[in-house]
Assembly symmetry: C2
Homo-oligomer: 445 residues x 2
């Protein structure tokens, strides 16, 4: 093939995903050429250590540890950024765009924090930024929100977008195990990192939710503004009670938009927390390292996207698809074909004002009148109780376990009530606290 | 807005979906203008009867029953075809393309039978053909296959893509009802047509499968070549046995591609039949009028797309998204950005050569030695039995019911064995015959 038919790519990062991308671009050269009528050529690869032993065989001449060899090379038209983390990835991404290069990234941190800025910059510099791989591995989410669902007012998003926590919760649910028993397995199997904070505290999910919500609601969501609760406080008892009540526990990243009156700015909520989800909901059966995003649009109704949310090949599937799309744009001499649009200012609703159902589990003194006191506090805070389970008692300690679920109540009211309940002398411990997300039964039969 | 900012649309068909499209284009003018920076204007609407009373209020001056008023109007740049059926829709679609108009269609018949021809013609005439709405309503499928999954070798597709039959099967499964009891309800509720042949015989599903398989396997699939079995022969007993065996019954449209050796042409199977699907498979919980497409790609692994596969608003969601995409192309002055590619010749595998597991239900004489005779026939045809249930006997008739499942066997062998079994004098009736599709458990926990 002559040079006109070659598109030069600079690959930044040769870790799990980067290696997968490199391998696919080589192994699938025939199909990629069939799709694009071009030779996609990885010209340079930025690595930290050139001498490192790798799983993939790669021409040593391609490797560099100088980012300038990619960013200052005028023959490179596409930069694939797979470094991860905000810095130096963000700096490189910005320089690539300023240098007139198209950017394909799988970096959720950069896109969650700097996505809107990079997309605007790309528009100014007439280059494209693609980021399908930043959320949900190879599951088509970014493209779906930007194109396929674009006629919809997206009302609700419920996402299981962190495979690590979903693996842990699935095993806790099936085995009645404690988190401390399951986490080491997840680490050993490569499903959790040595420091699992970003996953188990919901930080990773919040970043991905910020990206999805920004697109779906046409607004800029700062991931730091998304209230988060992690999974560390979950105990086996919560899984047992959840099952008795007809629910499973899932770490949900969710966003909901209010119906705004005309001329008024709409408010939305976005948060990440472990929630009780009905066993009959499609999301309830999303187990293990699988991800799923359940979306409610005003036209399309309920749609769900399901698949592997991480891993070398699923993520590389999205990266290479984005590269092919950029190649189509290069051939057609078009950029920013789908404009990045922001609707009138929308504001995030403070968590305090969010209404939802609650589940809480208490260890109380095993004597008469306790439930009356708790119920009275709930009443004072205008919280209506939906169900009560009092099941286990510890005769030696003279304590009993009570589980209460509520009807819809304001977060502020629930938190205040919980504080009052915890202060009761008959309450030994608030052992569990979860929100209930009654995803509508989708089946009209 | 001045005329440069207006994109004129000709709408052909003002039925359920057409009315929805018209309403959305009017009601969502603000958002559509935000996305496209253009005024999308429906200039003419082709209807059969201009005087008909409609649910939607529409300017009578827009209505016409002369297709030329759309096809010969040089100011109309997008034709939305929602007439349905092959003729005259195909003739109009072709004329629109030849006249240099972009085509957005929800017509599965036209796209299944003439899609490849229209896509090639569109390429020659430098216009675009979009058809997301032709399969699965608003679920993003066409776009996903054409873009997001394009780096994958698609290995398997398992689709529930006919809402009518899925509604009927869901109710039969839940209520133990006969098809003849459920069908009238489906018709009354608008989920089935007065003549339900196309749905219950799997014709509709075969057309949609032809569209998906053509894209996924980069080949041309003639829907007439797809072997079909409908749902008419299913009896309540089959649902009971399926449940006992850990399965549900779903009308599957499925396609699988063989791993071809290099330089060899790959063979694929494509067929539509009611199948036993494991209760634990994600597809098993797709109930009622919902659709889902479960795809296995070499990179992405298992992905599933789920949602409402029909109805005015879900389908209009896809149509309007396609119109917006065409508008982006018009603005960027690009057409056929994603080329329509056909890979080297692939051939459909004759059904006879397909290997799968089978389920069959027999009414036999209730006397010793019957099972031995049946097992012997299976052995002769090299069919290995996986399980046998003999549950019910009719003392008066002196007959018993036997259900047998097999391990993987060739269709040809199974059909021959079944013929031999039916010919046994101890066999009163082959009452049920189904294939078993053991969709892999997707969860690695």
């Amino acid at each position: 093939m002559n040079n006109d038919k070659t598109i030069n790519i600079g690959l930044m990062g040769l870790g799990v995903v980067g290696s997968g991308v490199l391998r696919i671009i080589h192994e699938k050269a025939r199909v990629l050429a069939l799709e694009t009528d071009r030779n996609l050529r990885v010209k340079k690869i930025l690595v930290r250590e050139k001498a490192k032993v790798r799983d993939i065989s790669v021409d040593a001449a391609l490797l560099t540890n100088d980012p300038d060899e990619i960013l200052d090379d005028p023959t490179i038209s596409i930069v694939i950024e797979l470094i991860g983390g905000v810095e130096p990835a963000y700096a490189y991404a910005k320089r690539a765009i300023l240098a007139g290069k198209h950017l394909v990234t799988g970096n959720k941190d950069v896109m969650a924090v700097h996505g809107p800025e990079l997309l605007r910059l790309a528009n100014e510099k007439s280059v494209d930024v693609y980021f399908e791989a930043s959320v949900g591995g190879g599951i088509p989410l970014i493209g779906s929100f930007r194109s396929d669902l674009v006629a919809n007012e997206i009302r609700e998003i419920y996402a299981i977008i962190n495979g690590t926590t979903n693996y842990i919760l699935t095993r806790m649910s099936r085995e009645g195990a404690a988190l401390t028993e399951v986490l080491p397995d997840a680490q050993r199997l490569g499903f959790a990192e040595a420091d699992p904070t970003k996953d188990v505290e919901g930080i990773d999910a919040a970043y991905k939710l910020a990206i999805l919500t920004s697109l779906a609601f046409r607004t800029e969501v700062d991931p730091a503004d998304i209230p988060r609760t992690g999974i560390m406080q979950l105990e086996p008892a919560d899984f047992r009670y959840a099952q008795d009540l007809g629910y499973v526990i899932k770490l949900l990243a969710l966003a909901r938009q209010e119906n705004a009156a005309p001329q008024q700015s709409a408010r939305y909520e976005a948060s990440v927390y472990p929630a009780l989800v009905p066993q009959t909901a499609p999301l309830a059966s999303v187990d293990g390292v699988y991800n799923a995003v359940y979306v409610v649009g005003d036209l399309v109704g309920n749609v769900m996207f399901y698949g592997r949310g991480a891993g070398s090949e699923p993520t590389a599937s999205a990266i290479v698809a984005d590269v092919i799309d950029v190649a189509h744009n290069i051939i057609s001499q078009v950029t920013n074909r789908i404009p990045y649009t922001i609707d009138s200012a929308k504001t995030m609703k403070p968590m305090d004002e969010v209404e939802t159902r609650f589940y809480f589990r208490l260890w109380v003194a095993d004597r008469p009148g306790v439930l009356a006191k708790i119920a009275s506090i709930c009443g004072t805070h205008r919280i209506s109780i939906a169900s009560v389970i009092q099941k286990e008692a510890d005769p030696e300690e003279q304590t009993a376990e009570i589980v209460i679920t509520t009807h819809d109540a304001y977060e502020r009211a629930m938190q205040a009530a919980l504080q009052d309940i915890a202060a009761l002398d008959v309450v030994a411990r608030v052992a569990g606290f979860l929100r209930i997300v009654d995803l509508g039964e989708p089946v009209r039969v």
